[in-house]
């Protein structure tokens, strides 16, 4: 018998994800790992990790990683890439890290057209700290710091990250994908591949926002959480490619 699906080579031996049961982070990390293998990137990869649920990324992936303070992964990645233009540099961040505390760093990395790839997991909450209102929390969503639901008077509106990144002239690729179903997972992998390729081709900033479930902080079963991604999140955060410079090539 032949293996048709196995653990990517670049995963560390004896790794065990520190994510909650049913959390989509694991799928996102697996897609990244598969692409590192398929695109033969392991030996030239330097990852800038973030603070949040994915803080222990360096425990899962057998690659070089530098830990950035909360929100600063894109700045750190800029430093790595500018001094190591031949390396493959990516960040793996949550929405709070990428789009709230690190908004300036993230946007300006896109605006400067840094040849790095950034991945942002959007699960509409601050997962690591126990489910508080974040930049992407949806209208009406109850969190531990919006106990009566998000309303515009108190909290303003959720943020559309991939669209904003697409507006930056330095962005070569910006897409939003989801992980709630197998077709969406396949699409997510394609988008991540593109975000990696635009960096390798020197076209500019590659970005993928990944809609992800957070069963623990949404107080749902994993499948209920995936239903929420499908029925509630995708209508507000539409999937798609918002910018792709390779289209004109």
């Amino acid at each position: 018998m032949q293996a048709v699906f196995s653990t990517p080579e670049v995963m560390k031996k004896d790794f065990r994800f520190t994510f909650c049961p049913g959390c989509d982070h694991g799928i996102a990390v697996r897609l990244v790992a598969e692409l590192i293998d398929e695109m033969n990137l392991k030996e030239k990869t330097i990852c800038s990790t973030c603070v949040g649920c994915s803080v222990f990324l360096y425990d899962f992936l057998n690659i070089d990683c530098v830990e950035a303070p909360h929100g600063r992964a894109c700045a750190s990645a800029t430093g790595v890439k500018r001094t190591n233009p031949d390396k493959f540099v990516f960040t793996y961040q949550g929405d709070g890290d990428f789009a709230s505390i690190g908004y300036a760093e993230s946007m300006h990395t896109a605006i400067r057209g840094e040849k790095v790839s950034a991945i942002c997991i959007n699960n509409t909450t601050y997962g690591m700290t126990g489910g508080q209102l974040g930049p992407t929390t949806m209208m009406g969503q109850v969190t531990t710091t919006s106990p009566f639901g998000r309303n515009k008077e108190y909290y303003g509106y959720p943020m559309k990250i991939a669209e904003q990144i697409a507006l930056c002239d330095g962005t070569a690729f910006s897409a939003r994908v989801a992980l709630d179903s197998v077709p969406h997972i396949n699409q997510a992998k394609q988008a991540l591949r593109k975000a990696f390729e635009v960096q390798l081709e020197g076209l500019g900033f590659g970005f993928v926002e990944i809609l992800s479930s957070c069963p623990t902080n949404w107080h749902m079963t994993p499948e209920q959480a995936h239903d929420r991604v499908k029925n509630e999140m995708i209508p507000v955060f539409p999937l798609g490619i918002f910018k792709d410079l390779t289209e004109n090539k």
């Binding site: 995963m11 065990r16 994800f17 989509d24 799928i27």
Partner: protein
């Protein structure tokens, strides 16, 4: 004919696989992990698994390997 192997040390009993398999070949097991959660088991008496790997693709913990 397909076959899956479940890595019990990685499985966190989220049961996404049990709802994903189109043929219902993955079920909750009586065996528990060290936290007391029921693990899952693969039962394919009629050799109906076609190794579509949907279970593995949706497993958030890389706990499923698929063979054909």
């Amino acid at each position: 004919m397909g076959l899956i192997k479940i890595n019990n040390s990685r499985c966190k009993s989220c049961y996404i696989c049990t709802e994903t398999c189109p043929k219902g070949l993955i079920k909750k097991s009586e065996e528990t992990n060290r936290l007391g959660d029921y693990l899952v088991k693969f039962e394919d008496k009629d050799n109906s698994c076609v190794a579509c790997a949907m279970c593995a693709k949706r497993c958030p913990d890389l706990a499923i390997e698929v063979f054909k």
